[in-house]
């Protein structure tokens, strides 16, 4: 790693950018070990969590879903099973690395996609005035790499917007101004414009990514957008360019109508992409934690069109970075009418910030209290021996 950084340092010198940034100098002196990385994946549109991780042991499940109930789920623990299309995740579970957090969500009751995504990305449910995203606040504030925070895609998501520089890129290959002379002209003219910060951060990142070693992955990622996004993220992680947080998203989960075939396809893409990433990173996963989320869950009962409408609690997946896998985290509230939120949706028993807090503090080493202001996480063990914590194991009826 140190050698690679040195190569880049000399590359920077050639570009004549002057002083070597502090983070590079420290890394070059070998004072820093490999960066911890947090990868977040957003499933936009509200995934039907009851279809993805099937509570087949709950006696209410089948009657609520006369046409949608999954009867051939892959058993996890005698109560929950994975949708068959999520089979690629099963080896991660069997390796005791995949954690599943049940009945998790936001305390805010909104069923608006837009607001719920906004709250899950700002990390302040109910507060619309928050300007920055929690993943940006989760970055330690010391000098760091220009590519410490990366979102793959054409947009910079709400979650990564804020004080710390963050980069959106479609792919490392495309991330450049192709005409070198024009690049210099742009860099100088934009430096005195209202877009000066964005421009400076962008060109700093361009310089780092220009000298990235060729992708050397032996794993074949799915051609899906999420598959390709995770491939880019894995490449950045393995190149040790100082990545600390990364973001990818996947849309299409808003399944109001005939959802079974659609979800089989989406879950296949989702599971395949995560599994490829898991395989690709191998033992780098000691330093890399992955967590998935979706703005809310869907109605426990299927609607009139073999689909589901907007609901409340959902399920999250997490692995890597020492996360305790092979078990279901959280408390299962049950599907009996009196246990449902507003008698229709799976109730939230774990605040999503309770799950994210240890990722921010134990994993990234930042203060969760600054990242989720005004929020006190409930006792929750994501790392280490969660299964031995009785309050943490999924409670059944």
């Amino acid at each position: 790693m140190n050698r690679r950084i040195f190569v880049k340092t000399s590359g920077l010198a050639l570009f004549g950018t002057g002083a070597i940034p502090g983070w590079l100098a420290r890394a070059a002196e070998g004072q820093k070990t490999r960066k911890k990385v947090l990868v977040t994946i957003f499933q936009r549109g509200a995934m039907d969590g009851l279809h993805a991780v099937v509570p087949y042991g709950d006696p209410r499940y089948k009657p609520l879903r006369p046409t949608l109930a999954i009867t051939d789920s892959l058993n996890l623990d005698g109560f929950f099973g994975l949708h068959p299309a999520l089979a690629p995740l099963k080896p991660i579970w069997d390796a005791k690395q995949l954690a599943i957090i049940e009945a998790v969500g936001s305390p805010d009751p909104t069923r608006s996609h837009f607001d719920a995504q906004d709250y899950m990305e700002s990390g302040t449910p109910g507060l619309k005035a928050t300007r920055d995203g929690w993943l940006n606040r989760a970055l330690p504030s010391d000098a760091a790499s220009p590519v410490r925070a990366v979102a793959v895609g054409p947009d910079l998501p709400r979650m990564l917007r804020g004080k710390q520089p963050a980069v959106a890129l479609n792919s490392v290959r495309e991330f450049q101004v192709r005409d070198a002379m024009a690049a210099r002209e742009f860099e100088s003219s934009f430096a005195s414009s209202s877009m000066a910060d964005l421009s400076r951060e962008t060109f700093e990142a361009v310089r780092i990514l220009k000298s990235l070693p060729a992708a050397d992955s032996k794993v074949t990622y799915p051609a899906s957008r999420l598959g390709q996004s995770l491939k880019e993220i894995a490449r950045l992680i393995k190149a040790d360019v100082g990545l600390e947080v990364a973001f990818a998203d996947m849309g299409g989960w808003d399944t109001h109508v005939n959802e079974a075939p659609r979800l089989a396809q989406l879950l296949g893409e989702f599971g395949g992409a995560l599994a490829a990433f898991w395989q690709d990173l191998g033992d780098r996963l000691d330093d890399v934690a992955v967590v998935t989320m979706s703005e809310f869950g869907r109605t426990a009962k299927e609607n009139g069109s073999r689909g589901t409408d907007h609901g409340h609690a959902n399920v999250m997946f997490a692995f890597g970075g020492g996360i305790q896998g092979g078990c279901i985290h959280g408390k299962w509230p049950g599907l009996a009418p009196e246990n449902l939120h507003e008698r229709r949706d799976l109730a939230v028993t774990t605040d999503f910030r309770t799950v994210l807090s240890p990722l921010v503090s134990s994993h990234l080493g930042n203060h969760a209290a600054n990242v989720f202001p005004g929020f006190t996480p409930e006792p929750f063990t994501l790392f280490g021996a969660a299964a031995s914590q009785p309050t943490n194991g999924a409670r059944r009826e």
Partner: protein, 498 residues
């Protein structure tokens, strides 16, 4: 923030008004550039002079009354090359059949189109289908083989021409404000062209439900979207029925919720989950009649609005505190539209959204309130609301000038217009817009694309914009032929703003 400003004005008097950029009058020589930036997709060479000659006020008046403007013959010529944009959905489904219709034709449930060229092509597709599906040995004629080679798949033609027409109009139309508004209101009432039958219904949706009303009454616009099969399909209302009665299957809340959250009241407009359910009940039976002679999914592609009383929940409902008596039938939905149009939240929500597009990302509250009040006072007359905005001091202020980051569509079209370039292959430009995060007609979520300029600023987008400027200058931009260099500097940071 704007509230704070109001308070400081009240306490400290006019001396401090100058600190509010929306109170600072835009200097006279910038006004034409500002108007062209906001009411059009950007100035072409010669536009500023033409507006000056005509008079700015008169130019705005004409833009607000596009019927008074002769259309650009160059645009009409480009549009004439597109075969599908004037067809009804059912004509389109017959002439450019989607796989479901091909299947129905192969099974003899549907006739081939009459027009000889189309007939040849469709017959070829049917033959191919039969060979694939039931191992038939039927051979393609040479003419059929040639037709398959020369023409893209039918669905691709339909969605492709929709995109081409949009880019042609944005680039060439003299009725620029109408095009800006067609983009704005389509995005407000967004549908997603890649969702099943919407591949075929979106052309008619924009042409028949959106475009005729962008400077008309909001109630008409809302009604046109509520009854268009593209919307009924996109937000699933065509499937929403009274619970368990014969073939009826039950409610689907999707349209009811987005109707209030995104189309009228706004998310904080004061409705509850119970209102969502009640509104959904009112719209049960608002469905799609399949194209004549077809059954099942295939028919949806050429479908029409249809009220089916057997699927309607005729019980009593209460929407936003208003009792809707039992037995109202189709009138239930109409009454909901009336309640929503006249609700105070709707006027404020729409006024703010328009001001965000045309004035500033965070528009002054006083202007929004005046526009909302005009909306309420004129029964939602959109021309009058727009006229008020274009006469407001806030619109002609330093706070508004160059304050908006262009969306990818605005950036790309304004650059093409600035160079006077010829749009040869619009689909190549559309592809570029996709990599910039704005694939046309392909925003999957009902929210539409962000109206807030700041949401378009990020490093990937900045680099793509820079690369595009260089390519356009060097006549290397995809699908565009640049004859001469632009009068403005496409590489300047200011060009990213409008």
């Amino acid at each position: 923030m704007s509230r704070r400003i109001t308070i400081s004005l009240a306490f400290l008097g006019c001396a401090f008004a100058a600190s509010d950029p929306f109170s600072k009058k835009l200097s006279h020589n910038l006004q034409i550039a500002h108007a062209l930036n906001r009411l059009s997709f950007g100035a072409r060479p010669g536009d500023a002079e033409a507006v000056k000659k005509l008079g700015l006020k008169k130019w705005i008046h004409r833009q607000l009354h596009p019927g008074t403007l002769a259309e650009n013959p160059q645009l009409e010529e480009k549009l004439a090359s597109l075969k599908t944009i004037n067809l009804s959905a059912s004509e389109m489904a017959a002439a450019y059949p989607p796989p479901q219709v091909i299947k129905a034709m192969a099974e003899g449930k549907l006739a081939l189109p009459d027009e000889p060229d189309q007939r040849e092509h469709v017959a070829a597709l049917v033959t191919l289908y039969k060979r694939r599906q039931n191992g038939s040995n039927e051979k393609l004629t040479p003419a059929q083989r040639k037709s398959l080679l020369l023409n893209p798949p039918p669905g691709q033609t339909v969605a492709g021409e929709l995109v081409e027409a949009k880019l042609y109009r944005a680039t060439y139309s003299e009725r620029q404000l109408q095009e800006v508004l067609a983009d704005f209101w389509f995005n407000h009432f967004n549908v997603y062209v890649d969702k099943g039958a919407d591949r075929y219904l979106t052309t008619s949706y924009e042409r028949d439900a959106i475009r005729p009303h962008v400077l008309g009454k909001f109630r008409d616009l809302l009604h046109a979207t509520a009854t268009h099969p593209a919307m009924l399909f996109y937000l699933d209302n065509w499937q929403s029925t009274i619970v368990a009665k014969g073939k009826a299957k039950g409610l689907n809340e999707n349209y009811a919720r987005e109707l209030m959250e995104l189309h009228t009241l706004g998310v904080d407009g004061g409705y509850t989950q119970q209102d969502v359910v009640e509104v959904a009940r009112c719209f049960t039976g608002w469905t799609i009649r399949p194209a004549s002679g077809t059954r099942g999914r295939a028919g949806l592609y050429g479908g029409e609005f249809f009220y089916n009383p057997r699927l309607h929940d005729n019980g009593e409902k209460t929407v936003l505190g208003v009792r809707i008596p039992a037995g109202g039938g189709q009138k239930d939905g109409e009454q909901v539209l009336d309640i929503l149009v006249h609700h105070p939240s709707t006027a404020s929500f729409l006024a703010r959204k328009l001001a965000t597009r045309f004035v500033a990302d965070d528009p002054p509250a006083a202007l929004v309130e005046r526009m909302a009040s005009k909306f309420r006072g004129t029964d939602g007359d959109l021309t009058k609301v727009m006229a008020l905005m274009f006469e407001s001091k806030e619109f002609w202020s330093e706070g508004a000038y160059q304050s908006k980051m262009k969306s990818p569509l605005e950036l790309v079209v304004s650059a093409v217009r600035a160079t006077g370039a010829d749009l040869e292959r619009p689909l190549a430009l559309a592809n570029l817009l996709k990599t910039m995060g704005q694939p046309l007609y392909r925003k999957q979520e009902p929210t539409g694309y962000s109206n807030n300029g700041e949401d378009w600023t990020n490093s990937a987008s900045l680099l793509a914009r820079m690369n595009f400027a260089v390519a356009l200058e060097e006549n290397k931009a995809p699908g565009v032929r640049t004859a001469k260099s632009a009068a403005v500097n496409l590489r300047a940071p200011e060009f990213q703003k409008r």
